[in-house]
Amino acid sequence: MKKSFKRKAISLLTTALLLGSLAGCGNGETSTEDGGTNTATSGETIKIGLNMELSGDTASYGSNARDGAMLAINELNAAGGVLGMQIEPIERDNKSDAAEAATLSAALIGEEIAVQVGPLTSGCVNASIPVLSEAGIPIVAPAATAANITVDPDTNEVRPYVFRVCFIDPFQGTLMAQFALDSGYTTAAIYKDTSSDYSQGLAESFKTTFEAGGGTIVAEEGFTSGDRDFRATLNKIKGTNPEFLYVPGYYQEVAPLIKQAREAGITIPMGGGDGWDSPDTLSVAGADALNNCFFTNHYSSEDADEKVVAFVTAYKAAYNDKTPDAFAALGYDAIMAVASAIESAGSADPQAITDALASLTDFEGVTGTMTMDEQHNPIKAGVIIEYVDGAQVMNTRIEP
């Protein structure tokens, strides 16, 4: 008897604790909402759902994008809101889980959001799409770069309610080819990861653009993810004497590859995509090997463009001098693009926002001026980042 009472007491206590922690969460959310400079006077607000990865594997993407988005919302609200209405962010954590992201989207629809911004990863965005499209609520993905986000892979039809403010993966190949041509190189070799769609896509668009610009691809070789020994193929590539080596891949393979290329006496410039962007690239390859290496990215905090400078300054002021990364910039741009769509539509109705987003033209974002194409992918600039003695330095901004 005593024992079972004890058990009951424990289970009651646990329940109480759980409820307490849940209440704690709730409080946390309201406090962030109130964190904005709330100068709302009229009762009407525009609700924007922020469905983001605030915990879990990709928590750093989500929290940085959330910070960028909140900065944009605070700036808009401080300037009197959009169409005279204040923006009310409803922030939810999808725990980097696709199923959770879908559930949260359903809940956000219940809260009568006009548009959802986020999630960050393509997998979570894909899971959110059906429920939002069903309800006719537009979704703006800040950083989902997979090609099949805005286009249904089964029917090849554009998804009417899905938009993004980042360029898609293969576009990086176009940017790097443009950069190589602008730098005066006429021959290039490609060494790609044949086991990754990302790498294949980048290589394909690099080749197309480079050849269209009058360049010649002298060698096209492949590796598979998990490979660590690239010396044999590098020696083969060296024999074809290219002026530029394009290595679209992820840092796990690219870092040892660059190191081995330099050790094999390949001194030509090498280029790649944002898959290079990791601290491990530097620690594995070393600063010397990385000199004369370039990769494409969405944005650089060192860009001298006045919009970027203003954004970086405001972000640092708001968040303890933290430097905003690409996710923060894209989160900011996603909110600003939505605001611009609402203004041009003259209404915060979800359908009106959708139509305005589809015809978004020359929207000036931090990550470049964007025009939505018919597949809901923005045509926009990218930046070339160069490694100089181990530091990532903004080299140039490439306009398509």
Binding site: R231, A232, K236, A255, P256, K259, E263, V284
Partner: protein
């Protein structure tokens, strides 16, 4: 021609790592007729022990390698006692499946303990130097890997040919029951075999880390399978065969990438396995006997 020799050097240093792992496969097979599929993962554990020895204890690469070899020798003995010994009289397939189980256990216990992300081997523990010989490039790492592999192989060969324990190992490999009747402690010899094989794998693990710069809990899988191919190529159970098989496989892979298509590299490696099993199942160094798999 110059390019060919360059590729040969590349192939030798790749093959040296395969050969060291292949030795462990072949020794264990020679003694208890078990394909120890956990062997590649012991190499991974060795790489991690070396990593922590360098980063946490601040030792140099040589001490780290010694440390990794000792730890893995003990690990090898424990694995044999816990996982394989109880199954010694069961079917060979039972032991083989257990070995695969041990392999997954080692991989995912490391994922659990240390996370699945890769770790960067400290570059300053072994700074790269490049030497030029009339157009040929060779790094001190190539020399390090090839020289240590050859050195360890010579030691092993001397141990097996010249010492009493080595003689006992050969006896057990020939006939366990007869060896036992001659007063050889078979359990002891099996433990020694696992210890030596695992120590060699650990050395290969540290070399891999130094050579390629990163390690992760699943790194042992592919080199493990390639080393198995190397062991079969040379003739499984035959120690000089494993060495030759390792070097040959390394050179073959390099030549396929360098002169053929880089995408056919793995296909060539596994193609060789199929070919050798079809044409000469006992391996290049094997004697004619219908019994071996």
């Amino acid at each position: 021609m110059l390019n060919f020799i360059q590729q040969l050097i590349n192939g030798l240093s790749l093959g040296a790592i395969y050969a060291l792992i292949a030795l462990g496969y072949t020794m264990v097979y020679g003694i208890i007729k078990l394909i120890n599929f956990a062997h590649g993962d012991i190499m991974m554990v060795g790489a991690y022990v070396g990593f922590f020895s360098i980063t946490l204890l601040g030792t140099n690469v040589w001490v780290a390698m010694l440390f990794a070899m000792l730890t893995c020798a003990v690990l090898g003995i424990i694995i044999e006692k816990v996982a394989y010994k109880p199954l010694r009289n069961s079917t060979r397939i039972a032991a083989l499946i257990t070995a695969i189980g041990v392999s997954f256990f080692l991989e995912y216990i490391m994922v659990f303990l240390l996370g699945a992300t890769q770790r960067v081997y400290p570059a300053d523990a072994f700074p790269t130097q490049t030497y030029h010989f009339s157009g040929l490039l060779m790094t001190n790492k190539d020399i390090f890997v090839i020289a240590s592999a050859v050195f360890l192989m010579i030691i092993l060969q001397l141990f097996i040919k010249k010492t009493r324990t080595g003689k006992a190992m050969r006896a057990v490999s020939l006939d366990q029951d007869a060896a036992s009747l001659m007063g050889i402690n078979v359990n002891h010899i099996i433990s020694v075999t696992f210890a030596i094989g695992s120590a060699l794998a650990a050395a290969a693990g540290v070399m891999y880390g130094v050579f390629y710069g990163t390690i992760n809990p699943l790194m042992g899988m592919v080199p493990g399978i390639k080393a198995f191919v190397a062991a079969v190529l040379g003739g499984i159970g035959i120690i000089p065969g494993a060495m030759a098989g390792g070097f040959l496989l390394g050179i073959l892979e390099t030549m396929v990438s360098g002169y053929g298509n880089s995408l056919f590299r793995d296909a060539a490696a596994y193609g060789v396995l199929i070919l050798i099993l079809l044409i000469k199942p006992t391996g290049l160094f094997g004697e004619k006997s219908g019994e071996k798999i």
